[in-house]
């Protein structure tokens, strides 16, 4: 009954990314040789992306629970409660490889995919963020990738109609052959109206919705499809093209049929399309699924079962509908001009049966497809701890002001306005703090509740010490939320690493997860969703380990958030947190002194919490007038950013005697903030910090239109701003490097 053409050869198995052992496991599981379609289904379900086979055992160590967590990892997106019956649904996902191949479409479909994950759960998307890493600016491909990726992210989000409110952009030669595109989407729903993938009920219609299926993204299987395809047609590109217009229609149609009570279960078709979504819906509900591929809307002729099962065409959904509501749901979809087709039904057999042209081309045990996927305890070696850098042994080639002027125009530190001005960040009318600050702040519905959103990671720290780097990424996300006055609630993560089959890389992965887990526990900042992207390497050279953290926090009153711009002259500038002058892995050491080395700053999680709690309280009480967390570039860069954002300068005191001046101004010690207060509040604030065990120090006062250090010529803000704003546009215009 099941055709066995062609014979499965070892080459075909390898072509599908399955090892001989994994193939053996398939044979044992089903007791016969699989059909080609079945092999394709297994390869999709058991690849790294779907099965998390290398990462699963470690991901389990992440804390995922808190009283406000409604849904942790395992669904399309994480869900947390923000009170008043409202839920925030969010997730981050990578589209690294596709973006390297075709930057515009790769990035665009990355945004499309993550948006779908969010509205599949019944939430209306309210914001997007993105974290981007590119190679050395001097590398010949970098400019092209930056231009395409940014245009693609904007092209999709702007058209879909969601504000893109934040993110980060970094450059390093280790991303030369592998750029990173991590996109995060955030949606809002009512707590009791969340939709899940779990199917219930036997004999219910399974409905296909959205765009038609084409031969998009059928990779790893080029050989097989060449043997089976129409033959004469030229080799097909595996690039998927995004259609934000269809996705916008899909959003509106989905929310409408959800509101109409038509939906039992819903799952978007992401990677491995129809296969993953159908198997997940059935397996989660302990049901079987039968699909009839002749009913699948296709946009190309001659598509085989194999191709339909593996297509990654975008803007598609699978649902289990209430049978009595089928006609109503169909009318809604037709109104929005979208395809609607009943392509199967739920069964009580726990088997995944696929029929095509009157034949059964797959008949597999549905639970085992997921549950029996291989899980690996890959061997790993711990990254050796690098030595601590002694600031006294670092020569300082430049004056502080000169170093600042140089640093502020560095690719990693300069203004990313060129990027975020290509994103509509004001649509929906709720963006209270736009890109350019520590975290974006959005009004929730009509307020006064607000949300704070950020993405963070410092890959050079992770490379030097994955454990401290993992901690630091979480701590910085938490700190960025605290710096606007928000209560940090939960994170999504996107773990980008090289080849896990290399023990050093696996060691980075394990170290980073360990650090993330420890920080999330200590800060009550659980992980509710995430994504793993491995094998980011070219010719044996891996990317810097990059565990991106997307953080979400809540404000009771968004108007009481703080921003980084100085607010008035003659206010007192306070440095919150302890400054030892940590130069290891600092940008100053790397880019001014030319030494990329040393241990990264250690993260004291108790201090993070103490200092952040104080800052948040000062913001809430209206005492802190401007706040900025201190990260890349240290105190001096933070001060410069606050000054440039406002046009108000600062008169600064000398560094304390105990710390080398360059280490004081440019060291990257963690758990620190710059806070300004009115002169009348200074004494009380200092006393309060001391009482709370929080180190605090006056570093100067706001004044004039320049930054002035004792014994150095004033740095005019205008000049600084020209450098800060100038580099990226000049680079993209081909005028520098």
């Amino acid at each position: 009954m099941i055709p066995n053409e062609p014979k499965i050869s070892p080459e075909l198995v390898a072509e599908h990314g399955l090892t001989p052992e994994e193939y053996q496991r398939i044979l044992t599981l089903i007791g016969r040789e699989p059909t080609l379609t079945e092999l394709g289904i297994f390869s999709a379900m058991w690849n790294e992306h779907c099965s998390y086979k290398s990462s699963k055992v470690h991901l389990r160590t992440l804390p995922t629970e808190a009283p406000w967590v409604i849904q942790g990892p395992g669904e399309n997106a994480g869900v947390i409660s923000i009170g008043d019956g409202l839920a925030v649904v969010f997730k981050m996902e990578s589209h690294n490889h596709p973006s390297y191949i075709e930057p515009y479409q790769g990035a665009a479909t990355g945004v499309g995919g993550i948006l779908r994950d969010v509205f599949t759960m019944g939430a209306r998307p309210i914001a997007c963020l993105n974290s981007l890493r590119f190679g050395d600016p001097a590398h010949p491909k970098t400019r092209h990738l930056v231009a395409g990726v940014v245009a693609g992210i904007g092209g999709y989000g702007n058209s879909f109609g969601v504000p893109t409110v934040g993110g980060s952009v970094g450059f390093h030669t280790r991303y030369d052959g592998n750029c990173l595109v991590n996109a995060m989407a955030v949606g809002l729903a009512e707590e009791d109206k969340i939709f899940y993938a779990k199917a219930t009920g036997v004999g219910h219609p399974i409905v296909y919705l959205g765009s038609k299926t084409g031969r998009d993204g059928i990779h790893g299987a080029t050989m097989a499809s060449a043997e089976f395809g129409a033959g004469t047609e030229e080799k097909r590109p595996t690039v998927q093209v995004g259609d934000p217009f269809s996705e916008k229609l899909l959003l509106e149609a989905c929310l409408e049929i959800m509101a109409a009570g038509c939906v039992i279960a819903i799952q978007d078709m992401g990677a491995a399309g129809l296969t993953c979504s159908a198997v997940e819906m059935g397996a989660k509900g302990d049901l079987g699924v039968t699909l009839d591929l002749d009913k699948v809307p296709v946009r190309e002729t001659g598509m085989t079962a194999y191709e339909m099962m593996l297509s990654e065409s975008q803007e598609r959904m699978l649902m289990v509908l209430r049978p009595e509501k089928e006609a109503e749901a169909e009318a809604i979809f037709r109104k929005w001009g979208l395809d609607f087709a009943v392509v199967g039904e739920t069964t009580d057999t726990k088997r995944f049966v696929v029929r095509w042209q009157g034949e059964s081309v797959a008949d597999l045990p549905i639970k085992e497809l997921g549950d029996e996927a291989p899980v690996y305890q890959r061997p790993f070696t711990q990254t050796p701890k690098p030595p601590r850098v002694n600031p006294k042994e670092i020569k300082h080639p430049l004056k502080i002001s000169e170093a600042l002027e140089q640093m502020i125009a560095l690719p990693d530190l300069c203004s990313k306005r060129w990027v975020w001005e290509q994103y509509d960040h004001v649509i929906l009318g709720n963006t209270f703090q736009r890109p350019g600050g520590d975290a974006a702040v959005l009004r929730v519905n009509d307020g006064p509740k607000g949300l704070a959103l950020t993405t963070d990671v410092t890959p050079r720290y992770c490379e030097a010490d994955p454990f401290e780097g993992g901690k630091q990424a979480v701590a910085e996300a938490w700190r960025n939320l605290a710096a606007v006055g928000a209560r940090p609630l939960a994170v999504t993560d996107n773990l980008n690493f090289g080849n896990p089959e290399r023990p050093e890389i696996m060691g980075q992965f394990v170290g980073a997860i360990h650090g993330i887990a420890q920080a999330c526990k200590a800060l009550d900042f659980p992980v509710v969703s995430g994504n793993v992207s491995l094998y980011n390497e070219t010719n044996g050279r891996a990317i810097l380990p990059t565990p991106t953290i997307g953080g979400v926090g809540v404000l009771d009153d968004f108007t009481k958030s703080a921003s980084l711009a100085f607010k008035a002259a003659e206010e007192i500038i306070l440095l919150i947190g302890e400054t030892q002058g940590w130069l290891g892995q600092s940008l100053y050491l790397r880019d001014v002194c030319g030494r990329e080395e040393g241990a990264p700053p250690p993260v004291d999680l108790a201090a993070e919490r103490r200092n952040g709690d104080l800052v948040r309280a000062l913001i809430g009480e209206g005492i802190a007038t401007a706040v900025h967390d201190i990260s890349d570039g240290g105190l001096m860069v933070a001060l410069a950013e606050m000054a440039m954002a406002s046009g108000i300068g600062a008169r600064l005191y000398a560094a304390p005697i105990a710390v080398e001046p360059h280490a004081f101004w440019f060291g990257e010690d963690q758990a620190r903030y710059v806070v300004t207060v009115r002169a009348a509040d200074a004494e009380a604030t200092i006393a309060r910090a001391k009482a709370a065990g929080v180190p605090v120090r006056r570093v100067g006062s706001t004044a004039g239109n320049a930054l002035t250090l004792p014994g150095e010529a004033p740095i005019l803000l205008k000049q600084l701003r020209d450098r800060f704003e100038g580099w990226l546009p000049a680079y993209m215009a081909g005028e520098v490097i």
């Binding site: 702007n158 058209s159 879909f160 001005e421 290509q422």
Partner: protein, 233 residues
Amino acid sequence: MRAAVVVFPGINRERDMARALTLIAGRAPTMVWHADTALPEGTDLVVLPGGFSYGDYLRCGAIASRAPIMEAVRDHAEKGGLVLGVCNGFQILCEAGLLPGALLRNAGLKFICRDVHLRVERSDTPFTRGYNAGQVIRVPTAHGEGNYFASPETLAELEAEGRVLFRYTDAEGQVAERANVNGASNAIAGVLSQKHNVLGLMPHPENHVETIMGSTDGRGLFAGLVDHFVQAA
């Protein structure tokens, strides 16, 4: 003021527009579906909101301008009724021939989202009676194709007839190349139809209407319209 906001597939600033209208007019607009053929009885103002109707595929606004509801919008305009098109709405009005000219790709070839300054050229129209002539307002833009183009003759006519209602300027109200975000001819941000009853405007006043969100410079447009209908009644 009874406002009707037309919803085309792919439009995405209709909620922003409805919120602004509700806030300022004290009455929610009726949302009208593109496939309908009539406007609600007694519609005072028709609004074509911003977004990406039909994904901006083919040309911005082209497909929407041929939608069934557009006949009713045209009728409304021909009878002297007020029509406001913002961003994609402006593009639709040009494509429909209700306004002259066309909106081309931004001169910098990139989508631009930033606050811009606009000079209100005259205050004796229903759309600008909430402002003073020469007043400079700050509102956001968010578009990739807002570069207003018309033939030299048309431009001369628009200028001579005082139909350029908003112009991109610097904060002081001076026309300057740097302030012309998209390279529009004569720095045109908004134009009127011959009868002064149809306005196309590229930036988004509807996103700057609440003190609490940091700026109310866009309010004047809607407040002026409300006032116009109060006076008329």
